[in-house]
């Protein structure tokens, strides 16, 4: 099977989702077990806490060709590591505002608080995010063209 | 000696770039650097020194020498070397041209760097003499005559015209292409400018730079091998 898709029929976005192990990853599991579908182009990376996500990872995702990056964590106050998501909130508030300042479309970056019991919400958020990014089209601004040509 | 009015320089650029790729000092986002000419680009020959030297044309800061493709477990090396299109490097200052000569000694000597050689042979260098050297210029101490540059074609620029003197076959070949744009003459204006330039060079602070500041041993090596002075 040619695992590298040669040409893309119509544009399907490539979304990287960072999910924190205790809440949003469990929320994603619940969405799964409740069969609440969302598009397949969302791929989840498990991190111990949302505060583990370094802005470098977000930029690396965009560089490698992601069209949208979403970060999910526990609701502030529910963090398994007490204060982790408070730092995430500040870091991403500044990073997202800064990326927008550099001209990157604001809708490409997103942060959502999803608890372990919110499978419904997880699926709704992912569906909405894929729709938004699809409307935005392919990420041409924050990406390494060399990677795009499949080198 | 040929000359062309300053106002018609754009036509010269257009003519050259029809035949070959033209690289010359272009002002972009507030800084002057060597870049590919295109209609509408702001050419700035008056700027004494571009931020980065023209070395990039021959010895770029980074280049893709090869590519490899992995398919499962096997790796395939792709030779992506492309023949450099014929290029004209316009507006090279005399000191930069000497630097290119020094580079030639390194990259064209055995074992030859074929990437460098390919680019070097494909390029015709048009040097531009200096009219107003600055206090930080040190060409004199390295035996460079700011007023009479070497290169495939030497040019001088004053208030009204650009004066054009081909020195090598490459220079002749290029001149043939754009001859009809030029008029004869201009020797007088050129020598007048040369007078003035050389007078300024004498007065520059670094005119009498004492190389012995470098340790004696290195200064001899420096002058002998790199500058070709025996």
């Amino acid at each position: 099977m040619q695992d590298v898709k040669t040409e893309k029929k119509e544009f399907t976005p490539n979304i990287v989702a960072f999910c924190c192990n205790w809440c949003s990853y469990a929320g994603a599991d619940l969405a799964g077990s409740s069969r609440l579908s969302y598009p397949a182009n969302v791929k989840i990376i498990r991190v111990p806490c949302s505060c583990r996500v370094n802005p470098m990872f977000v930029l690396k995702a965009f560089q490698q060709g992601a069209d949208g990056v979403i970060l999910c964590g526990c609701h502030p106050g529910d963090c398994h590591y007490v204060t982790g998501n408070y730092y995430t909130r500040r870091r991403m508030a500044l990073l997202y505002s800064f990326l927008n300042y550099m001209g990157i479309e604001k809708a490409r970056t997103r942060l959502e608080w999803v608890s372990a019991a919110e499978g419904q919400r997880f699926s709704a958020v992912m569906n909405d995010f894929v729709k938004t990014v699809t409307e935005l089209g392919e990420n041409k601004r924050l990406t390494d063209l060399r990677v795009k040509e499949g080198e | 000696m040929l000359k062309i009015a300053k106002e018609r320089l754009n036509e010269l650029y257009a003519a050259i770039s029809n035949a070959m790729e033209l690289v010359l000092p272009v002002k972009k986002a507030g800084e002057v650097n060597f870049a590919m000419w295109a209609e509408g680009k702001e050419v700035s020959l008056e700027t004494l020194k571009t931020v980065k030297s023209p070395k990039d044309t021959f010895f770029p800061q980074s280049e893709n020498m090869m590519k490899f493709k992995t398919d499962g477990k096997n790796i395939e090396i792709l030779d992506i070397r492309a023949e450099k299109a014929p290029t004209v490097l316009f507006g090279v200052r005399p000191c930069d041209y000497k630097a290119i000569e020094v580079l030639d000694k390194v990259f064209l000597a055995d074992p030859v760097d074929t990437y460098y050689q390919n680019r070097r042979e494909a390029t015709t260098i048009i040097t531009l003499a200096c009219a107003k050297p600055e206090e930080s210029c040190f060409c004199k101490v390295f035996g460079i005559d700011a007023a009479a540059p070497a290169g495939d074609v030497a040019t001088w620029l004053d208030g009204d015209n650009l004066y054009w003197q081909a020195n090598t076959e490459k220079g002749e070949a290029l001149t043939a292409l754009v001859k009809e744009l030029f008029a004869e003459g201009g020797e007088a204006e050129v020598s007048a400018q040369q007078e003035k330039t050389r007078a300024i060079v004498e007065k520059l602070p670094f005119a009498t730079l004492d190389l012995s500041r470098l340790s004696p041993k290195t200064s001899t090596i420096y002058s002998m091998t790199l500058l070709g002075r025996k």
């Binding site: 909130r89 500040r90 001209g103 997103r110 | 600055e134």
Partner: protein
């Protein structure tokens, strides 16, 4: 200005001669009048080369990271903007405060020789400034320029005061000014996303990855920088792909966010004159807007905005340009 310079040299010699300090960090005369460079003076004779003039824009606090590790005390001359960086480095335990004798030196703004040259002035021999007039003596006669037009960019919006001093050499009071240092940032914020992207794409495409900005930045003084460390995963050095420059500058700006004192050195040293301070000021403006006024370097202890939080912080999805939209 000459009077201040004399006092500086005199105090430096006195401190060194008396053995109170083992060395003095200042600026030494360059080849011309407009290119003094930071230097360490260890003997009184060497101090003859010590200068303090209208071109001493360099921030000396970063050099103290290594020098304060040496034996004996070090005297250093700090302009108002330098003292914030000095404080920030004390907070991060990079400078040993007891081993530094800080002399707060007067600063009425420094000149930018490139801006002078851009006005067609060359072969500069000396400069004298009286009130708002800058008299430039050159080989081709004297030119007079208007001071605000040839100030260093970082001095144009400077409202800083000395935060640290063991001693002070201030002979002329600096007129307080009210100027909005975020005006440029606001102008960019007012643009559309496409215009902003075009602006930064053009500016950053000039970047030649010479690392001058990183090497001069007091906040960017890691023992081993991520960009020098192949294990970091982002250590690319090539400057041929646009994204590399974006990545380098975004990550550098993020690493100093909340710690950058807006000393403006990065823009001063950039050979391609990329307005790098507009990147760091964006973070400062956002931090002030989101979490309340904060000036890095005002105190030498305590948390920075990125290592503290409040329950009510703004949500990232609606955090834009310093407010929740």
């Amino acid at each position: 200005m000459k009077d201040v310079e004399l006092k500086v040299v005199e105090r430096a010699k006195a401190l060194l001669a008396s053995g109170e300090v083992a060395r003095v960090v200042g600026w030494k005369k360059g080849d011309f009048c407009f290119d003094p460079s930071p230097a360490v003076f260890e003997s009184v004779e060497e101090l003859d080369g010590l200068v303090y003039n209208w071109f001493c824009g360099a921030n000396l606090s970063k050099y103290l990271i290594e020098i304060s590790k040496k034996e004996g005390k070090t005297a250093v001359f700090l302009k108002p903007c330098d003292t914030y960086s000095f404080n920030q480095l004390i907070k991060e335990h990079r400078i040993n405060r007891e081993k530094v004798y800080a002399i707060a030196v007067e600063c009425l703004g420094k000149l930018d020789v490139e801006k002078i040259k851009a006005k067609g002035v060359s072969m500069i021999e000396d400069v004298e400034v009286v009130e708002k007039e800058v008299k430039v003596a050159t080989a081709y006669g004297t030119e007079t320029l208007h001071k605000p037009e040839v100030l260093l960019t970082k001095c144009e919006t400077c409202q800083k005061t000395h935060q640290v001093k063991d001693e002070e050499i201030i002979l002329h009071e600096r007129p307080a000014r009210d100027v909005d240092r975020f005006a440029e940032v606001a102008k960019l914020e007012a643009m559309t996303e496409d215009e902003r992207f075009a602006f930064w794409k053009e500016q950053l495409s000039k970047c030649i990855r010479c690392n001058a900005c990183r090497n001069v930045c007091p906040a960017c003084s890691c023992v081993k920088c991520v960009f020098d460390n192949p294990a970091s995963g982002i250590s690319a050095k090539a400057n041929d792909a646009e994204f590399e420059e974006q990545l380098f500058h975004i990550i550098r700006a993020f690493h100093v966010a909340g710690r950058c004192t807006d000393c403006g050195e990065c823009s001063r040293v950039c050979p391609q004159n990329i307005p790098l301070h507009l990147l760091n000021r964006k973070f400062i403006k956002d931090i002030d807007g989101f979490y309340g006024e904060y000036q890095a370097g005002e105190e030498a202890e305590g948390k920075t905005p990125l290592t503290s939080f409040t329950e009510g912080d703004v949500e990232p999805n609606d955090a834009v340009d310093g407010e929740a939209k």
